[in-house]
Symmetry: none
């Protein structure tokens, strides 16, 4: 009985915390990180400023929470996706499918504003940028194993180390994503990305 009461209140509290988070996030996306004050957030939430500090130790704590969220959103498990392909599928095709899927994830799951913020933060380095770059290591590994597969099947050139090629691919991904951020909405991320990787693929193929 006591426990239930506790749960009800905690539920409400969580609701509040979530609302703060959501309002903040929306404002961040609209106006950028540094241009949103605690006042702005709590005005939007419709509660008192003091309440903010009940749920977040500081403005920075909320920022950190946001960034963590962004990273998590981008952290789709691509590895498992790879296993869905029939064994005889050409590595190039897997690679292209992969790139398409990543693009979809970025566009739909992460979203333009969030990505933009993530890219800004990396340039500002106010926060531990390691998080974001670490995350990429997963992508590095994914690409790396993919390139290796292509080398073993004799599809890809072998004069450049697989790892190095993977680096180039990730860099290209990031480059296209950055381009999307600054050209939005006049830039179709998926299309450009696919075409770009087609060119890169030609450059990687054994001839």
């Amino acid at each position: 009985m006591k426990k239930e009461k506790m749960t009800v209140r905690k539920l409400q509290a969580n609701e509040t915390k979530k609302k703060i988070y959501q309002c903040a996030e929306e404002l961040f996306r609209q106006h950028g990180f540094e241009n949103v004050t605690v006042d702005d957030i709590m005005n939007k939430v419709g509660m008192s400023k003091g309440t903010f500090f009940v749920h977040y130790a500081s403005r920075d704590a909320l920022l950190a929470a946001c960034i963590t969220e962004f990273v998590n959103r981008a952290d789709t498990d691509y590895e498992s996706y790879l296993e869905t392909f029939p064994e005889q599928t050409a590595t190039s095709d897997i690679l292209m499918a992969m790139v398409g899927r990543i693009a979809d994830n970025i566009i739909e799951n992460v979203g333009y504003e969030r990505i933009k913020i993530a890219y800004r933060i990396q340039l500002e380095k106010t926060f531990d940028t390691g998080m974001l770059l670490n995350h990429d290591r997963k992508i590095y590994k994914t690409f790396s194993s993919l390139v290796n597969r292509g080398m073993q099947t004799g599809e890809f050139r072998t004069d450049i180390p697989a790892e190095s090629i993977a680096n180039h691919l990730v860099m290209a991904m990031r480059g296209a994503t950055y381009e999307w951020c600054i050209r939005y909405p006049d830039f179709n991320l998926k299309n450009h990305l696919l075409r770009h990787f087609q060119i890169l693929l030609c450059g990687i193929r054994k001839r």
Copy 2:
């Protein structure tokens, strides 16, 4: 006589404005745009705060001036550089030389901090970002004409429009530069850029 005095004053004024600009720019590079106050700037200049507003309408006006400068710095006339190559030079070689030159210009003339700021500003869009993207059109044209040349000499594939290829190349440049910004100093821009373009080149070449 009155005129002379005016001239003297104007000269002094220009001197002052320039000094403000230089001090501000250095501070911006050191601490980032948002973290430098008018006080900081004028402390460094060694003049009073009021003087700042004599020469710049607002803090933002100075920022805008800075960005314009950054763009101009990057605006080396690469076209003329192209003409220095003997007529029979392979387009691939010219392209690679070109990329190397651009890298040198970015690294030495523009500099890491300035580039980083420019890239940040594009993401923040507090200012007219058009400037920066316009500037690139020059590079687009340069790459475009280069790709065209390669197509005419039969070196490059012709199934993709030259302009489109140029777009991919510029995007790759920007991607590598962004990577430099976030990985600095553990990332050799010129090396990576050249290797990356070698791969791209393979993807563009006729086979």
Copy 3:
């Protein structure tokens, strides 16, 4: 049955109130009155903030309770101590023994931090300082009767009223205690006090 429960609850409540008091007191001694918040206290107690206000009407109410406690601690019954001396003991000796005992009580029973707080509060007069000065009247009486005894036995001068001399002695006590507070720990209260009273004693003795 209901009654028993009530008693149980009351006991628990008292327990809680006491715990709050003890934790608060320790924090006050460590960090000073103004630097301890209700949060700090209840954190140490390990209960919720709301509970504090169940037991104390306000933060100030707790402070008042503390001060009362301090006073009570200092309120050792010195009178009864006096009676332990053989009748023929010289008054000077009793006086000195008395002073030594008071010093011991201050040092060991009351303690440095508590005394310091008490002395500060008297200067701040945020609370009813009367309490503290009233308490002293007991000491006045003790000293007074002692001085009277000395006069009757012909040990002490009689040109100054006994009460007035007692006032001087208490003031000297307080002065030395204040000195202890501000020179702690480089000041041995008991030693200094005894030496000081030796001088005073010389000034009081009949010659």
Copy 4:
């Protein structure tokens, strides 16, 4: 001409700073150090809060300035006063005159509220308490040399080191002053001090 203008403005600025100081000081005396906010001060001054920070780096900076002032006020040069006495004057008389003069200085020049604050600060030790105790060293020396004189003229007992006696005297001064602070206005500092020193003097005299 330019200089004069400068002077006029600086004069006004100094005026403002002084006004802030005076208003602050008055509020401090009325309500105690911690209970006065920058808002309070500037409300009284009748200028904007920002102006406060033009003249004082922080609230604490103002507090420090106040305390320094208090100390300076108490720092009357008693040494020179000593020299005004005819050579054959009895040391006891000089000592008593000295004490009277110190009392006058405390009462009239320093003032009740300021002394109270100084004594509180010593107990709080928020600030460098050294300042206040250092100042006393002057008094120590003054008393010390006076006691020495008394010993040399054979007026004072010599079984206690002059320095030690001086310590007792200063402590007594401080004790009486503290008493004044907490008993104000029902305590005549000068009278009590003189009577107290008369007793002490008896204790110090050779017999």
